[in-house]
């Protein structure tokens, strides 16, 4: 900063502006300070409440924070591979900890799919199926919810409220309800994730439609096209890449969601993961985590690559 020149005095008008600016600045700072103080109060209150209602207290349990690392050390490195591919373990003592070959899913007499690979495929299939299902119904609903295509505010409002409810309704409740009816298996998880996906994708889709270029649609209207023709030929071609991109983003989220739903009884890899962490089966836990981790990364990378091809570099925001 140059300090050699004397500070020029302000003219009267300049002084007024300067004073106003100072006042504004002071007010803004006060608001910022009040906001931060409120945030700090809410935070400390929350932390106190969380600590009070937790089973173990934070500072009592802190020394055990990294205990889970200890739960992840198998007897030797090859155990992870054995757990992942259901090979017999030399430590097998008949307990659940080392009974890897028991999970084999035999296709023929000799060829088998390892249990965790099969479970992972199940989770992945739940995610893909519900993404396609959600995309299909989201696609149908979104045109009814977009302001530029559906002039009737009642239909629009109804469809939007429906999508909001589908989105906000806790997945775990849908899964639990269908578990009670359909008994154990992956289908309750599929229904739960699908229903949520319809709401989430429908909302993203109708926002895309509302921001679309209306000129093709006007052209079709001028030539006398009916509603379905206008939507199909005027709207769908320009929004489809964005729809696909959002559906792929949703797929990433659904892989994670179906794992979680699986952990509460909905089939897939979630349940063996919960059990093996709970029972401290190191090799099994690590095998599942590695499978899950690599699947999630693979799906994320594949989706990012496809989205880049579909809509270019714009498509990198995450949506949930």
């Amino acid at each position: 900063m140059a300090t050699s020149a004397p500070f020029p005095t302000l003219s009267d008008n300049g002084a007024v502006v300067e004073r106003h600016w100072q006042e504004l600045n002071l007010r803004r700072r006060t608001y910022t300070f009040i906001g931060l103080a409120l945030l700090a109060m809410a935070l400390s209150g929350s932390l106190w409440f969380a600590n009070e209602t937790n089973a173990g207290k934070f500072f009592d349990r802190l020394p055990y924070f990294f205990d889970f690392v200890g739960d992840l050390v198998p007897r030797d490195g090859a155990e992870i591979g054995r757990a992942m591919f259901d090979l017999a373990s030399p430590y097998d003592d008949g307990s659940l900890k080392y009974n890897y070959p028991e999970g084999r899913m035999y296709l023929t007499d000799t060829i088998y799919v390892p249990e965790y690979v099969y479970r992972m495929l199940e989770t992945l299939n739940i995610a893909i199926f519900s993404t396609i299902f959600g995309m299909f119904f989201g696609f149908i609903l979104c045109f009814l919810a977009a302001r530029n295509l559906m002039p009737n505010p009642w239909v629009r409002g109804l469809v939007r409220r429906l999508m909001e409810i589908l989105r906000a309704f806790p997945e775990v409740v849908i899964a639990g309800f269908f578990l009670a009816i359909l008994s154990l298996g992956p289908i309750p998880a599929m229904i739960a994730v699908s229903i949520h996906t319809v709401g989430a994708l429908g909302k993203l889709f109708f926002e895309v439609v509302e921001n679309a270029d209306m000129r093709p649609e006007e052209g079709l209207r001028a030539t006398g096209g009916n509603w379905i023709e206008r939507v199909w030929f005027g709207m769908v071609p320009q929004v489809l890449p964005n729809f696909m991109s959002y559906a792929l983003l949703r797929l990433e989220i659904n892989v994670r969601a179906s794992t979680i739903i699986g952990a509460v009884g909905g089939g897939g890899i979630g349940e063996p993961l919960r059990l093996s962490i709970g029972q401290a089966h190191e090799a099994k836990t690590l095998a599942i985590i590695i499978l899950l981790f690599s699947t999630i990364i693979a799906v994320d990378q594949f989706s990012a690559w496809l989205r880049r091809r579909l809509v270019g570099d714009q498509a990198f925001q995450l949506a949930q």
Binding site: N54, R61, F68, P170, S183, A263, I277, I289
Partner: protein
């Protein structure tokens, strides 16, 4: 210069002939989209087979689904009419009946008479009356409902017993039990059923649509639709009368305020004598509401607050930690390729190890409770927010930064005045968005033990009979989500300066 932009048909065809690819599109593209759709269709068929969806859906117990759904918004009262071997009857309510221990509902009409009974030794009675042995030797606690005063004396005694019981479900439906004969009326049709200890349950005439009997002599089930159903057996007629609404939502049956009108309760609270000398009626009432045994209001509210707190603290900490790290990850801010890559891969790692895995680990570390869920959200979202923040940083306009740099500002001042004003609204908006969406995911990870309302929901669903509690919690969750949705939308639209959905 004027150009006639109107074309005649010949000109249009000429253009179409010159540029056929514009009009018809490439055949490759068409084949590709057809292939994609075929692929998707094939995949759906494959999934149908892989999960054997059709089979599961047909084997499902859809009848019970209706009952479970009805349980969300209604409740059943289940009096049993027990018929002893000598024909004496008794109306018994289950122990946790929503009507409380001393129920005399108007829809159950009872006529009584006094009879002389001879009761020998207890063992002999049990042999003679296997199902109705509780009749004479009932524990005082089980003697609920409008039962006769049973005397525990193994000798001759005179008792008052029920001679006729009439249950009116609604104006068109009723069940009348007298002298081992059940008269069921539903929508104008009447069914007479004889309860013969020797021959079993014998209907007189054909069974109407609403009555089913699997084998002759076995029990008959009368289904009256939404208003309830009844099981008719030789020794017992079980009534299930369904009422809309939630039973005992405010005061449970053990509360002194139970079954009192709003006016009575208000009168007691503001002017009544103290029911419990130790404290005022207001605090007693409040305490009774909080510890309502059926609805567990205090517990539900605590768990809901835990869920909210988990999402709030988790997201806040995540954005606080992600904030400095994202400057290291952005390649236009920190010009060090190794450092960028290390930070970015660290974010990817946190994000890709699923929230579920973190939740399970931290449940082991902290024990079940909100600390585990909070940490899980914190770890996952540090990765997600870090990634988003560093992408926002990499997309900033460089001109402002150069301007600040050109007047000779220190590196920190360049970030503060050249970069932060551009990205701070985006950062805050992203954090708000994740706060809102984490409120939703916190419900789910709660179900694996990471604190919050998730576990409570899951436990309520597991019993398959507390669906009204599930409904209550779902409504609370939906309210919270909609409120937070609106707050977050409002704040974000003010930050970014336009309406974001």
């Amino acid at each position: 210069m004027t150009v006639n932009t109107m074309m005649n048909a010949a000109e249009m065809e000429a253009i179409a002939a010159r540029h056929p690819h514009l009009i018809h599109g490439s055949s490759r593209k068409r084949i590709r989209s057809a292939l994609i759709f075929a692929g998707i269709a094939l995949y759906m068929i494959y999934s149908w087979w892989f999960f054997s969806i059709g089979q599961v859906l047909t084997n499902a117990n859809w009848g019970i689904a209706g009952t479970y759904l009805a349980d969300w918004v209604s409740y059943e009262v289940r009096p049993d009419i027990k018929i002893a071997a000598d024909g004496a009857m008794q109306v018994v309510y289950p122990r946790f009946s929503p009507l409380g221990p001393d129920a005399r509902p108007e829809w159950v009409k009872i006529e009584t008479k006094t009879i002389e009974r001879t009761i020998d030794a207890p063992a002999a009675t049990q042999q003679a009356l296997p199902k109705s042995s509780t009749f004479s030797f009932m524990a005082p606690k089980a003697a609920v409902g409008r039962s006769a005063e049973a005397e525990v004396k193994p000798e001759r005694s005179s008792e008052e017993v029920v001679s006729r019981a009439t249950i009116s479900f609604n104006s068109a439906t009723s069940v009348d039990v007298v002298d081992r004969t059940v008269t069921a009326t539903h929508n104008g049709e009447t069914l007479l059923i004889d309860l013969d200890p020797g021959r079993g349950v014998q209907p007189k005439g054909d069974l109407p649509d609403w009555a089913t009997q699997k084998r002759p002599g076995e029990k008959i089930t009368l289904a009256f639709g939404m208003t309830g159903w009844a099981d008719v057996d030789v020794e017992k007629v079980s009534i299930h009368n369904r009422f809309p609404g939630w039973a005992n939502f405010i005061f449970d049956t053990s509360s002194p305020f139970f079954n009192k009108s709003f006016g009575e309760v208000a009168g007691l609270i503001f002017a009544g004598e103290r029911l419990d000398p130790a404290r005022s009626n207001l605090s007693l009432a409040w305490n009774n509401i909080l510890y309502n045994a059926e609805w567990q209001h205090l517990d539900v509210w605590t768990k809901l607050l835990q869920t909210i707190v988990m999402a709030f603290v988790g997201t806040l900490f995540a954005s606080i930690v992600a904030f400095p790290l994202c400057f290291l990850a952005a390649r236009n801010i920190t010009r060090n390729g190794v450092l960028n890559q290390v930070t970015k891969r660290f974010f990817d790692f946190l994000r890709s190890v699923d929230m579920l895995i973190w939740a399970l680990f931290f449940t082991r570390a902290f024990g079940p409770g909100p600390l585990a869920g909070m940490s899980a959200i914190f770890f996952t979202d540090t990765g997600t927010l870090g990634k988003l923040y560093s992408e926002a940083l990499e997309n900033i306009d460089d001109k402002q930064r150069e301007g600040v740099k050109s007047v000779g500002a220190a590196p920190l001042a360049v970030q503060r005045y050249g970069v932060l004003p551009q990205v701070l609204p985006v950062f805050a908006s992203q954090a708000l968005y994740f706060w809102e969406s984490n409120t939703r995911s916190a419900t789910i990870i709660g179900a694996v033990g990471a604190g919050g309302i998730g576990l409570k929901l899951w436990e309520a669903m597991r019993t398959n009979s507390d669906w009204e509690n599930v409904c209550y919690m779902v409504i609370l969750i939906l309210i919270v989500i909609f409120i937070f949705d609106s707050i977050s939308n409002l704040l974000r639209s003010r930050l970014i300066g336009q309406k974001i959905h």
